[in-house]
Each structure stands twice: as C-alpha cells, then as structure tokens.
Symmetry: D2
Subunit: 339 residues, 4 copies
C-alpha cells in the first residue's frame, strides 16, 4: 500500500519534521509541498537536512495544489485549517498539526484563541484512555499540542487510577523550536543561549485548557491546571515536571507500570532513573518516571519528549497509521539520537 | 581600609567566582589561595579567566596556610568547615560557602547530610525579614544555597504578607556549574547540551529543608516544600518557578513592590516582563516577577539569579561587607553580562 | 539475509551510534554487546536513547563473548584491536572504529601512536579514488578518523584533478563527542558551553598523518598538512575549512560536480550555499561547498559531517554493507535531524 | 574628572556592552541614550541586564539629542557615522564602533562597502606598532572590527619581527552576537544551537581588507589574507586560528614574549596552554598562544577574545581613555566571567 501525501507548511519546523519522518515511512510517497510566504523558494533553503528533497520547490498553500493526495498534513498558523480542510473533501485524510480542532468547548476556544470555534476533530493522542479506537478509519485528526502531550500522558495514569486531587502544577522546560521560526528578538541565538526564561506565566499559555480538557475528561471533574512554560537553551525537547496531591498512600510505580504496559511509545524508566530530553531526540518515545514525595504527600511525575516528534509530527504520523489501518508504529522509532 | 582575604577551595567554581569578585573589591587584598587535590598546581590551570592571578600557585588547605588573614572564605565539600573554622580563631571572619552551618535543626542536618550537626551560623541572606541586622559585626557566616536563595527570596514577601497557604511547589531550572567540577559522566558537555533532566525528584534534594526553614520561619508554621531541580544546558543561572495557593484575592504586585523597595540587589521587573537568567550573568541581582493566576487561585513567582554570584560568591561578599561594616554593595554590581 | 552482529565498546559514543544505526538496519540482528570497565552494568545506564535495547546488560570484551557472530564492530581504545581481531578468526568480518589499522606506514604509527604497528587494513572510505572496490568481500576494515573523513573527502577532488599545490591548511571545528566520554575537566558542560578552544595545535593531532596519507596517495607526492582542531559547544558535528593554493584558474565547481556525481552520501550544495553541521546530525551525508578566492589564489572547501555517523559509525556500516555485498546505502540515510 | 558620555545605538549588542563598561567606569557620567527604530521604547526592553539604567527611555539618534556631551560613542549601521559626526563639532570626542572610518584606502572602501569613502580616523588598536601614540588627544577614533582585532594582534609580532611570509590563512570561530540583533532565520536559537557553519567564504568577508591593511602596514608589503569566519553556538567570543609560512627556524615564543611584554590587555599563555574564549568573556583581555609546526614549517597562532568587549566596546573605552589622557586601563578588566 502506498499513500500519496502532501504537506502544507513545509518550510516550518513542524513541516520539516513531518517530511523527515515521511521520508522514512515505507508506505508513503511524498507529493505536494506548500508554504505561505515561502512559496516559490527551494525547500533546501529552509530544510537543508532533507537531502532527498533538495530539488523540490515550495508551492502555494491552496486547495488546488493539495488536491489529489490521500493524506494532507496541515502545519499552518492557527485559524487557517478549517476552511482549507473543507475544500479538500471528506474522503481525504486531513491531519491538522495546528490548534484549531483540539478544544471541544467553544467557549474555551473563544477565550483562548478568539474568533469562532471550527469544531473539534478526533484527538490524536492514542495513549489516553479509550482514545486509540476513536482514531481508526477517521478522516480528520487534530494533533495535540506539545506541552499537552507531555503533561497529559504523564498525569493520565494517576487520574485514571483516581489517586490524585484535581489540582495540578506543571512546569515544563522547552527547547526553542516549540516557538517555530518566528523572527522575534527573544528567539535569537544570542538571547537564547545561556538563558532560561519563563513566559505566559500565571495560566496564560494556550496549552493550559487543552491539558485541563484531557485530564478533566479522565477525572470526570474539572482539574485546576497551573502551567508554566520555561524556555531553555536547546533546539528541541520538553521536560515536564508535574505534581498533584496524593489522595492516599499508593504504589505509584504499580499504577504507571500497568498503565503503560502495552503502549509502544511510552517508556517508564527503571526505578530511580529520571528522564532526560537528550534520550528522546528525534524519537517518538515519551520517557516517564513517577514517585511519591512523602514529605509533601504529592505525586511527582517527570516526562521527556521531543516536541517536534512525539510532540507534533510523530503523533501526526502515528495518527495517520491508525486512520489508515496501518500498524501504529510504522515509520516511527523509539530510538533517539544521542549524544 | 584594606582587609586581607584567603580563599580555601580556590580551584573550584565557587572559589573562582569569589576571586573574580574579590579582584574587583576596592578594600580587599587577596592572600592565600588553597585547594585540596589541586594543591601545588598553578591557579591558571583551573581558572584561566583570572589573569591578574595567573602567577599564583595553590597551597594546601590547612589552618596554617589560612592563618594571618582578616577574612577566610571556605568553598569546601560539606562536612569540612567546622573543624577548620575552629582552628582559625574567633577574631577571624569566616564565611562558609558550604552547607555545614545553614540548617538550624540538628535533626534536619542528620537526616539530609548525615553525621553530627556542627551548629548553625548567622545566615547570609540579608533580604529575609530581620536578617540584615543579624549579620553586622559577626565573625561567622553561613552562605545560603543557590536554590534556597532563589526560592526563599521569591516567596518571602508572600509569606511575610500572609497571603499564601504553606504548601509550595518549586521547580527550578539550573545551569551546570551548580554541580561543581565533579567528573561525572552526566555532567560532560556531550551529555548536557541538548538535555533538560530532572534529578533528586520527589523532595530528595538537600536544599529542600533549607527552603522550608527559611519560609517556615517567616510563616510561623511548617511550610510543605515540593522542590524539583532541573538541569538545563547553560553554565550558570537558576530560574525558579514558585507557586502556592492564595488565601484570598490580593494585589500581588503591591506586596512585592513594598517588600523589595529598599533592597539593593532585588529587582522587581516591570509588569508583564518575566525574568531571564541571561540578564543576571555575573551580577549580584535577583530578578523577580509575580502574578496571581485567577483560574487556579495561585500565586506564581519566578526568580532568576546567577547561582555562582548572588547564589554563592556574591552573597558571601555581601555578607562580608555587612560583617565588616562596609557599605553592603561594595564590590558588587547589579549589571549582568549579556548577551 | 540476516547477519548477526556484535559490538565491542557498546557503552561509548561510537558504540552507541553503531547500535542506533544497526537497530534500523533491515539485515542485522544485534548480538553481544560488550564493554571494558562498564561490563556488568545495564546498557540503558549509558545509552538511554536506545529504548529497544533497554533490557540488555553489557558483557566483558573478550573473544569468547564476541565469538559466533558474522560481524564484530570494535569501538575500543587504540592499541586494543589487533590482538582481539586475531582471536576472532579470519572468517569473521571485523570492523575497527579505532586507529590501529589506518596508517600504512609503520614509522608513522610509531611516531604518532607509539608501540608496534599492527599493520594496515582496507580503509573504509569508499569515496576516495579506487577505494570502493577494495572494500568488497574483505574481512577486515579500518574505519577512518572523523577529521580525516571531512578533510580528505573535501580535498580529494582537487588533488585528483591536480588543481592545487600540496600545501594545505585545515582548521576544523568539532563537537565534543569526538573526545568520547573521557572524564576530563575541560570536557565538562560548564567548561564547554560558551567556549571555543584549539587543541593539539601545531600539527600535533594524531589525525594529521592520516589526512596526509589520504591526500598524498591521490597527489602522488607528499602533502604538507597544517591541521588545527577547534572544540566548539555542540555535542556532534565537524565543520572543516580546508584551503590550498590553486595552480591555475579553474572551474572549481565543475571539478566538484564531476567528482561527487555518483556518490550516494556526498552532497555538493547549491552555489553560494555553505554547509552547516546542523543539517548533517544523525545522517550519513557529508555536505560540501567549494570556491576559488581570487585575491589569494586559493581554493577554499568547507565540509560538514556528523563525526559519529559518517565520521565513524555510519562509515562502519557503509563498509559492512560493501564487505557483505549488500547495497551500500542499506540502513543509512542522508536525512539529518534538524533543527 | 567626570566626562559626560552619550551612546548612539544603545539598543544593540555593541551599545549594550558599551553601557555595561561605562557603568563601571569611575570617570564617566552616562547621558543621552539613542536608537533608530527603537527610539521611544524603554532601554530595559532591550538590555534587561543593565539594571541601573532600567528607568531610561531611548531617544532618537539625532545630533540634537547627542549634543552637550564630552564623548559620543556611535554604534550605528555602516555609512551613518560621518554625517552625524560632522554635526557634533570638532571639540567632541567621537568614537565610532562602525566600519566607516577604518579603511585608509578609498578604493578598498568602495569595493567592500560601496558608496563614497568618508575618510579614515585614528585606528583604535593601541597594541599595533606605533599606534598608541597616535590615539592620544585625538577627537575621532575608528574602533577596529572584531575579527581584525584577533587576527591582527595575533600576527603582528610575527610580521614586526619579519619571521613569516606575507601569505596568511585565518579561520575564526565566532559567537553569534557578532552578527548583531538582525532578525534573520539563520540566527535563530533553534538554528544556531548544534550548528557550526561557515559564511562569506572565499575572501568575501568585509573584515578581510582591514586585516590585510593592518598586517601590510607592519610588513611593508601586501599581505595575502585568506579569511574564513565560522559561526559557532555561543553568544560571544572569537577564536582565531592564524597561520603563515615561517621564513626560517626561529624562537617563536621569544618573539611573542617580547612583543606583548608591556601590553596590559595581551595575555600570552604559558607554554603548551591554548586559549579558550570562555576565559575572556566580558573581559578586555586577548589570550594568545603561538607555536612553530616543524612538519609544515608554519607558524600557528591562536587568539581568543570577547568580540563585544576587547573586540568592540572595550577597545572603544580603551581608546577613549587614551584620547582623554586617562590611564589606559581605567574601567577595563582582564578578568573574565567563567565558567
């Protein structure tokens, strides 16, 4: 089986990572590559690491250019996906790496993003309880945000087992590629190297309602999420430190061992070993460790993930595999590039 | 006035930073420089940035070599300070950058460090309520740990104003120099670059009781401290994200403006601006921002500090100034080196 | 066809990269993994990114443990390969990532490494003129050094075309993994980040005679090689700037286009575009650009390569493929991981 | 003596470093701070590390705003200095950190920068033979480029002693701040970290004629300069590797010891020790080591310098001191910030 795939937004970081993974996928033929302002320029100018595609030129992101493919990946600024997807037809598998279709509550959308809610799509995080089945044979997928990937998978077992209070604190260190290729002074190399800095502090990051949505659905109640992202000097990677009060004394490790036992991309580390983002670079694995802190009666879970792979493009390919009926792990690896 | 100063542990990072600051201090003459295993080697081999001291050779760390100075700074492995200090005499100002004399509770010491408690010394964090006066004319100072510096100063105003519950979560990104020059595989550049990793998770870091001690003293009650350190790829700097439940709706900014108004080294940033460690490199300033998160009813405070300057050596010099009756800011700067 | 492969030195950087590539090789089954001082410890302690091998424990590096494999990769300290290879038998394909069998001249070996020369093996750089054929069906391969890979391939076309004088200057920036996992103070993250530093200056690096050997063989005369390595703050990657006087005015680009036309892993960049190591991370591609400087009448060639992939482990796998009669590119990719 | 100083271009990296140094200069009062597009914004938005100036707002860069100061530093895009300087009056000391007045040859200016040559000013590199005297009591100074600072000082002793041929190769690793705050994709942190990349290869960098001018003046003949800059992942620092053929066998160290003996900011390292940029961070020192390579009969000199301090702002302050008759080292330090 060979599916013909297009990527809209191919000059950005998510687009580049999609192409890196798709070049290694045995069932994929890469078709149209489109961009916004970069249309007409060679792909190699933006993605010099994609040598096999060095001769490609970026086309305009229009429905016409994207027509005629079995799968279309959208890596666009938010607010751009719904209209384009509508033009692509219901028989095309559309996988949106943007935020447009992640939130199920219209009021949440309006508060955090503004404008009219375009409706929610099946959510591409098969590791959440019951989620995998909902991705089979679908034609639309909303790929999760990178922080929600780390935080939700880290805390899902605890809420599923009912062992924590719905009052979580998440502080997540992130590499700079999470901010995309925006030409902002604070993202310049000179500013970033040697710098750890917090942003959108006080519950102002747009990934906050997505984390609350994921955990609230499992908990069956509203979960208060105090989320603070911290930019640190590395190109990729998220390390999320997540904590919540424990309801009682439990065997935390047993809870996590059971929850992750059959998950191909979730890697519970040996006891006493804590995750490092370096071990996840370029891989679709999410490394986790969890422990109870007896002095504060809190659960502390730390998750490491590559924001561009499992945090975006890897989840997109994983969702494609499920939607197409392919083995879920096709073209994806748990092996990172280190050091 | 010129005081003659010795530094024990001059080949390490804390020792090097002490010397950098002392070279710029107008009232100081640098005397003996001693080391443990590195005794007999040139200082320049370990501290090539200290050009004016390029001709110095490290001596043995013994009371004899350290005798005859007005001030002795100790930058030694923990457990080594008490005995040496006893041999130096009560008229010598001894400033210990190690942990030996920070904790006031002997049981805390035994639990977290082991061995017999050597007793506590005046604590070199003049910014805590009432602490400045306790440092004048003393002959012994325990320099605070780097994480406790960031977390305690960040949360002190909230506890002093009584606006938060005694249940805090602190997640602090730290540069690698906090671990010293230990030759451990996980501190190699190849491992560190591109890596964010948590360690001593679940309340196991030795700075935890020190934070709890500082905040508990202000709060007048036990404060639960969930503390997680995260190693990130930069040589210096700590960015501490600190949160606690708010007791009621308050004007957080007013609390912090008042608390820091007269502090020469505490810099409350303009509203909406969040700290970056890059702005504190080599300076004795601690940059802070605080905000209430209405969705979770939490206070979130972020503090940035150079772990080697205000976090160690700068606090040591600041304490020396107070102990000697010099202006507190002598030889110290709030200007960082950036980018 | 499935070949059973062992890796000696599996806890180091070269060993880890070999395993990363071998995990993606369709014709390989990974057998014994051995180590020196780390024997008995879990592989995951040293290579947390190799999730599929997380359960493996390192065995001792002995001929007995390595017996019974079709291919044995050696990633050992220099001087250790010859004796071990002799015990493995002539029918086993032994691929040595160390230096022992690279130099053809015994006097060179004695001068640069000391001790007795163990003899030279077929040299695993198929891109050199005539070299590919010499690797087919062999049972012993000496994998080139990382700097010689960049410098030799960069300058080979110029010497083969006879357009430059035999007097080259090579200055090569290198990431820290080139130094291995040695626990030296100057390799600590705190020292490395923010630091560019030269070492083995003045023609003292052991890769110098290897570069001279490769280029001299093509030139048919002794080539003077002034080589300076510069350590820069990144985990991987070599950027070699190579220059030599031009004999006359020539179309440099035509020379390079012709030389690299059929090479699967050599990527001559579009005119005006210069290599970056970031585009080669984890790939087996070597990116090159070349230009004439009319003011100095010099050729300047810049090559970027991942020192652990094409610079070591990738070349090893490429050589294995040739020696076994597999397609040369099996299990290897020209796609890098970026950003 | 207190001089009143203005800085034009205060929101950029050179401007920020000037202010950092001027804040520590005992004879300076900081007056007007001006900018181009950033006029009207708070300085703290661009230079959060300059805490004592946190209340300042940037004014427009006009002669009117800059009037009434004893010294005006210009950190402007090239081509902007001459007209502004003319309006400031001949009695004001104008120190230009830009390129406008460095080149003495009008044809060089037109070839490398384009437009009409504005004439040359006294060149602010007192370490060159005879240069110091030419800076006393002047009213105009052209501050050298950062690469020419490293390369010229590194090679000056060899040309002054007549021991090398006029055919030099310079390959210099540089931190990203040398490119300023330009919002270019290749300067984003995500692109820069993990990347070494060459640019302006083949003798196309504008600092090439400045190096040739400096060395040619000493040599008394045209010096061919093959110069390649390499961008590496650090905010600051230049490491220049410089080589030239030796005319005969000489005691290289003796030449350099003699040349640098009385220079306050030139630091010849102990034999066998090679420079690292990390030791120069924030300092005005230039660290050098030199050696003969007997195999190639070449001199190899390596110089490390902070591009923003001794490479720009430090040289500007050093020149100001000389022009004003102050001790040359006032407000400048040879102590770096490390690690």
């Amino acid at each position: 089986m060979t599916v013909r795939v297009a990527v809209a937004g191919a000059s950005g970081y998510a687009g580049g990572e999609l192409l890196r993974l798709l070049l290694g996928h045995p069932d994929v033929e890469i078709g149209a590559l489109t961009a916004g302002g970069n249309a007409g320029t060679p792909l190699s100018q933006h993605q010099p690491h994609l040598v096999p595609l060095a001769d490609r030129v970026l086309q305009d992101t229009t429905a016409a250019e994207l027509a005629g493919h079995d799968v279309v990946f959208l890596a666009l600024p938010h607010g751009k996906s719904a209209e384009l997807a509508a033009q692509l037809g219901d028989d095309v598998l559309v996988i949106d790496c943007g935020a447009d279709h992640r939130l199920t509550d219209a009021a949440d959308w309006e508060r955090w993003y503004g404008g009219e809610h375009a409706g929610s799509w099946p959510y591409g995080m098969p590791e959440l309880p019951g989620a995998r089945e909902n991705l089979r044979d679908v034609k639309r997928v909303a790929v999760p945000g990178c922080f929600p990937t780390a935080a939700s998978i880290a805390l899902a077992p605890a809420f599923a087992a009912g062992i924590v209070e719905p009052d979580v604190v998440v502080v997540a260190a992130t590499g700079t590629s999470g901010a995309g290729k925006s030409l902002k002074p604070n993202l310049l190399g000179s500013e970033v190297m040697g710098a750890a800095s917090a942003y959108n502090v006080g519950g102002r990051h747009r990934h906050t309602p997505e984390i609350a949505q994921n955990l609230g659905k499992i908990a069956g109640t509203r979960v208060a999420v105090s989320f603070t992202p911290v930019l640190v000097p590395m190109p990729r990677g998220i390390l999320a430190t997540c904590t919540a009060p424990l309801k009682s004394t439990v065997d935390v490790r047993a809870v996590y061992e059971k929850a992750y036992a059959d998950e191909p991309f979730l890697h519970l580390l040996p006891e006493g070993v804590w995750p490092t983002t370096a071990a996840t670079l370029g891989s679709n694995a999410l490394h986790v460790q969890a422990v109870a802190d007896p002095d504060t009666n809190r659960l502390v879970v730390v998750a490491a993930v590559d924001n561009l792979t499992k945090g975006t493009a890897g989840a997109a390919v994983q969702s494609m595999n499920l939607a197409l009926g392919l083995p879920e792990t096709t073209g994806l690896s748990t092996v990172g590039v280190a050091p």
